[in-house]
Amino acid sequence: MLGTIIQQTVNALTIGSIYALIALGYTMVYGVLRMINFAHGEMFMLGAYAAFLALTLVVGDIGAVGAIGLTLVFFGAIVAVGFVGVGIERLAYKPLRNSTRLAPMLSSLGVSLSLVTGVQILAGPQPVGFPSFFPTTRFDVFGGTVTLVQIGILIAAFILMFGLYMLVNRSRMGIIVRAVSESRPTAQLLGINVNMAISMVFFSGPLLGAAGGILYASYYGIMSPTMGAVIGLKAFTAAILGGIGSIPGAMLGAYILAFVEVGGTALLPVVSGGVLGTEYRDVLSFAILILVLLMRPAGILGEPVSEESMVYKREF
């Protein structure tokens, strides 16, 4: 029993860490631009593909790379996706910065469609096996199984999130980003380079999302061009749940969502006496999301919003 609890907890923490990495990108973009970036799930997908490309084309054989090589591939791939993110912002969202609020959101849908199809054309639409970045060692903890992959994911996610925390809270760049997120016009009046802050957000968000993609692909051993859609929606849900625009909120929301999912899978059939199967765990997640939004529209850790502040003029 204790073993099962430990195993499920580690499962939830693993999935939660991956959700958190992606959710951070949604929440930071929203914080700065008040825009839902529907193309963010594709950064997650691109991360896995970029790492795979680096491994197969540049390095050749995965066995010969070694731990340092793998780390280099990992960071190379996520930084590359970070630059892709900055480029996309310049081309597809920047021209719409003074347009209606719906416009960049829909433009991001176009970006998402183009990226998925682009990868399908280049790499084929079928799922591809992904080499694990970690040895497949298993540990037995009080009867439950914990894999080295899971521990690796937890450590990598922790390092990345700690890095983001330091960047946002302890660096000059972080102050700029936070100032723009607080109020873009005021930041501009104070002489802050708003474009710089936005580029920074569109660099670090996709970078973290790409890291999530690589970790996810090596956890499940598979990747596909459409993998970003489902996980993107989950991470987005997590960001909303925690309070969109809030960085700790995105992390909290991601772990809550992961625990609801893992718990739902394990408990729903037992609690309902077999009426509701595990497939209802997504209904449970969305139901919780809707309930939270109805009671506290700003999410768990978001700034409280009144009905009046939900809408910015010139919505459509």
């Binding site: 081309l91 497939e279 139901a287 529209p297």
Partner: protein, 331 residues
């Protein structure tokens, strides 16, 4: 393209030529369709169903200014209403028109049920709750097997028939759709001009001011949700009757997003815009069929470009059906 670019003298003439061209093209297409091969008629039928969906969703998004990303749920309600009441699933075989009425009513009911809890939400928050609602409906359809047949869906639906006339072949469905789309479009357009439509416009422009001048925003919003949902549901019935098969696959989030895109690219808040948007997003992929997945890539890039260069849509709100008619008959 704006009036400022054209020389003042030429302006009235261009203003008349464009409506005439549009009108002539539309009539030509409508008349020619029945003589096309079945495959093409099916594509046109798909286009008409999307126009119907667009007209429905446009009430909430374009008129009342509320972003709904779960519209496909109402479409599903209609489709499954037909599938359950006119198939061997429960061995019920009700007449088509009766089901159409039931579905419109059920759609309205679901619209109000969704509308009541989200009345206090606006903007992105509303979009997200409606998105979650749409996903919940889809997951339910996938899993309540005894009712909906699960992922396999429900097959062998009855042929639609009205007063003994059967609507099963693509051409027959086409005529049925034409009548329904035209009727709904005229009704909705009249609604937009009515006092209720003005209330919607007031809510869209500034809800607090609307409340201030004594508009009952609760009722107006619920009316928008109800009307829009019942049109979505009607579209679902016709979709089910023309496919004679329904499954959850037809009601994904992507579908909702496609309808929103159609409205925004075409011209938000304008029925003519919806027709243009549907024509681009539905017909273009069919026309470019031989380019396989390249056409989807092209479509994605086109979406970005169109939103950047024409933020108000291809046919802006100011060029509504009234302008078209006035242009045709010279005021």
């Amino acid at each position: 393209m704006s009036a400022a670019d054209t020389p003042a003298a030429a302006a009235p003439r261009t203003r008349r030529i464009i409506p005439f061209l549009v009108f002539a093209l539309a009539i030509a297409l409508l008349v020619a369709t029945p003589f096309l091969p079945n495959y093409h008629i099916r594509v046109i039928n798909g286009l008409l169903i999307y126009i119907l969906l667009g007209i429905g969703l446009n009430i909430v998004i374009g008129y009342a200014g509320l972003l709904d990303l779960g519209f496909v749920a109402f479409y599903a309600v209609g489709a499954y209403t037909y599938a359950l009441l006119a198939s061997p699933q429960f061995d019920l075989h009700l007449p088509f028109l009766l089901i159409l009425l039931i579905a419109a009513f059920l759609g309205m009911l679901t619209g109000i049920l969704l509308g009541i809890p989200v009345l206090k939400l606006r903007g992105d928050y509303l979009a997200i709750v409606t998105l979650g609602f749409g996903e919940i409906i889809r997951i339910m359809m996938n899993n309540v097997d005894w009712l909906t047949g699960g992922p396999q869906g429900i097959a062998r639906l009855d042929k639609a028939s009205v007063f003994g006339i059967e609507f099963a072949r693509p051409v027959e469905i086409y005529f049925l759709l034409l009548v329904i789309v035209f009727t709904v479009a005229v009704l909705v357009w009249r609604m937009e001009q009515s006092i209720l439509g003005k209330a919607w416009a007031a809510i869209r422009e500034d809800q607090d001011a609307a409340r201030g001048i004594g508009i009952n925003t609760t009722n107006a919003k619920l009316a928008a949700f109800a009307t829009s949902a019942s049109i979505g549901s009607i579209a679902g019935v016709i979709f089910a009757a023309s496919q004679r098969f329904v499954s959850p696959e037809s009601f994904t989030l992507q579908e909702s997003v496609l309808i929103v895109l159609m409205i925004v690219i075409g011209g938000i808040g304008n029925i003519l815009g919806i027709v243009a948007g549907a024509a681009i997003l539905i017909l273009l992929p069919e026309v470019l069929r031989e380019f396989a997945e390249w056409r989807i890539l092209f479509l994605g890039l086109l979406m970005i470009v169109l939103i950047i260069i024409r933020p108000a849509g291809i046919v802006p709100r100011s060029f509504g059906p009234d302008k078209l008619i006035r242009g045709l008959f010279g005021k």
